[in-house]
Amino acid sequence: MRQIPGRLNMDKAPASNVKTSAPARGSRPEGAVLLRASGLSKAFGSQVVLDGVDLELRQGEVVILRGFNGSGKSTLLNILSANLEPDSGVLELGVNGARKIFRFPSRWWQKLGLKNEFIPEFMFNKGFGRTWQDIRLFSTLNLCDNIAAAIPGQMGENPWLAVGRFATVKRQERTVASASQEELALLGLREEGRMLAEKLSVGHAKCVAIARAVRAGAKVLCLDEPLAGVDNLHKKKIVELLRVLAQREHLTLVIIEHSWNISQILGLATTIWTLEGGKLRVEQPSKAGSPPVNEVSESDIQQLGRTATLTSVRVAGKEASKPFLEVDDLVVYRGRRLIVGDYEGAGGKIKGVSFTLRQPGLYHLHAPNAWGASTLIEAIAGLIPVARGRIHLNGENIESLPPWQRVSAGVRVALARANGFQSLTVREMFDLAQVRSLPEGFSPLLAKQMSSLSGGERQKVVLWSILHGPEFQVGVFDEPFMSLDAREAERIGDELSRLASEKIILITVPASTGSTEEVIP
């Protein structure tokens, strides 16, 4: 009978005669090179995300990968886990002496799927595992099964053996199940083995996801924002879990994280990778610049739960008068998954999101990725129904109104990465949006189809069609400055500031910017 791989001993102290091979903090680790990439490039349409990235990952390293939103961190991670093919470059795997080289762009037969080894399963079998920003547990399975599904070497996964040697398979099942139970107990979820994964709070879910990947046998673990959207108690747990993985289990870690969370894991790190302008910069932790400090005067910060905050930016002159948009105990699901709101405890009551916006006013919503900011915005817009809670606009409940009636009531929303209507021309777009006056600089674009514009130009058209459209009272903009060039961003920023002296403007801020000053250029 096959052996089930080793256990995570989180509470056992290491024996004193065991030499840990984890390198001392600050020194360059000398482990074997596990992975080397050179010249990795990736562009989405006309937007270049990675521009010749070179990197080297050695055994035993704990790497923190940082960079602004849209700087390509997740893209790089997706490439390293074979979920995405780069446009060009070379990826070398050197594990246990066996080398494998991937050259891009791949050949045409590989694109058709023949003899293509650049797939997630292959990378995992070489020891490279990953976790996801949006966690991705198996929602209809319970927690025990979630971990059990990952354990390798199960005879029962082969249908012939499942039928032919069912007694043996049953015995192995019992071992696997008890191993999963132990794992859950170590994570503090002993009683919750039979709970469905979709009912788990974010903090717990992230722990389970990490345990799942480790149990599956990963030797190199790439973690996509493990601390994002997690409350402080679970942050400590996750950091401790990472410490055990790095120092006791000797895993190599690559952790993507944001500025305000980096300080918590800086103690573990041996290397810092910074992605900027499509290029990667490698630094030692002591030499890397300290993360930008939040310089906002703490005039009016509302906590939204799970580290998201709503900040009011004082606009010169006007004092905010009355509450105009009030969100009260909002809970929103996507399908069966809870997105806006969080479970208190494990599978306990759900706490909704509440905040107040006063008119006039300029507000910034800081939320980590995968917190659910976009879902919250869609709920305010009326594109997704609310499961619980109220949205009051100037005293009236609007949470049951369809989107177009909310527009008549004075709420305008621009979604992130809005693309407008691809098959319409710019002029048709403006007509549709009932634009009153044409903003300057658009005449050459009028006859062009939206699909022929670049991402930044499309974003420009969508934003100006709101700003110059019918009058509104509340304007909600989800990451409006993404993909805009500096000059355009400045123009729109000025317009938004101007509007904020009469109306309510709510902007979501990309998660990795610490300083609010950077948001409006």
């Binding site: 995405l84 817009a381 129904p385 177009w404 209507f421 098959s423 949006a433």
Partner: protein, 288 residues
């Protein structure tokens, strides 16, 4: 040679109407509108009942079109609209559409039985157009189809409502955010779909007769053509529909009338496959 091409072109026009009917609902709502098969089967019976009751030809055809619109709008008002409010997933809409399809077909069977019927309008008279022999039914059907498709194209490109409709097919969420009533526009989409399906059904029924299961293959092929063609635009579906008609006729000539449908399906799958392979640049999709 020309005769086969003409034959294929004309039946392709009928398929194109049906493909547009499917695309007009599929693009804005992503509903796999299989109930269109039920409407396609029902409409000729309405026309036949009107003709038998003594209505004139035009009046009967008009009743047929109205019944198509009615059943289609009913589907959105009672089924797909409410399901959309609850944000039901795609499979739920499909199962509902399947149920509606079954109900429509069974009502036809219950009321009128399963025997094949025909309109008997005396439109089987053969005429000759440009050196090709066509029946009057085929000829008038083709002209009507071309007029309808052209009219639809002009409306969608140039009228205010038409532009909103194109926007709906493109990105219905964005349209809602722009302040347009997409519930009403969705009803319009379903109405147009019903009208086009009815027109197609009448066209096929006038030429070939009808029974409750008559158009099933035609509907399936049209849906496949729509899914392949509609990736480009509403009118990609038209192009594909006509193309399929021509291919089908050629297949019937090369292989035999009986292998027409299987061969057409094989060709369609081939095109679908190639489309997927070459368009999916991000094959291993990584959600951001």
């Amino acid at each position: 040679m020309l005769a086969i091409f003409a034959d294929g072109f004309i039946s392709g026009l009928g398929t194109a109407l049906l493909a547009v009917a499917f695309a007009v609902v599929y693009l804005p709502t992503r509903v796999f509108y299989i109930a269109l098969g039920g409407i396609f089967a029902f409409v000729p019976y309405v026309v036949w009942a009107c003709l038998t009751a003594g209505f004139g030809v035009i009046a009967s055809f008009a009743c047929g079109i109205f019944s198509g619109i009615f059943f289609s709008v009913l589907a959105e008002a009672v089924l797909h609209g409410p399901l959309e409010q609850r944000k039901t997933a795609h499979d739920g809409h499909f199962v509902c559409s399947l149920g509606y399809y079954i109900i429509l077909i069974q009502i036809v069977c219950l009321i009128w039985g399963t025997q094949k019927k025909a309109f008997r309008l005396g439109a089987d008279v053969m005429t000759e157009v440009g050196g090709v022999r066509l029946s009057l039914a085929q000829f008038t059907g083709a002209i009507a189809a071309i007029l309808i498709l052209t009219g639809f194209y002009l409306w969608v490109q140039h009228s205010k409502l038409g532009i909103q409709f194109r926007a709906l097919a493109d990105n219905s969420r964005e349209l809602a955010l722009a302040g347009r009533n997409i519930t009403a526009l969705r009803l319009l989409a379903f109405a147009i779909s019903g009208a086009f399906a009815a027109a197609s059904a009448i066209m096929f029924a006038s030429d070939l007769g009808f029974h409750p299961y008559s158009g099933l293959d035609a509907v399936l092929i049209a849906m496949a053509a729509a899914m392949v063609g509609a990736r480009w635009s509403l009118f990609g579906a038209v192009g594909m529909g006509i193309g399929i008609g021509i291919v089908r006729a050629q297949a019937g000539f090369v292989f035999s009338a009986q292998w027409q449908d299987p061969v057409t399906f094989i060709i369609l799958i081939g095109v679908l496959w190639l489309q997927e392979v070459f368009s999916a640049k991000r094959r291993l999709e990584a959600l951001s």
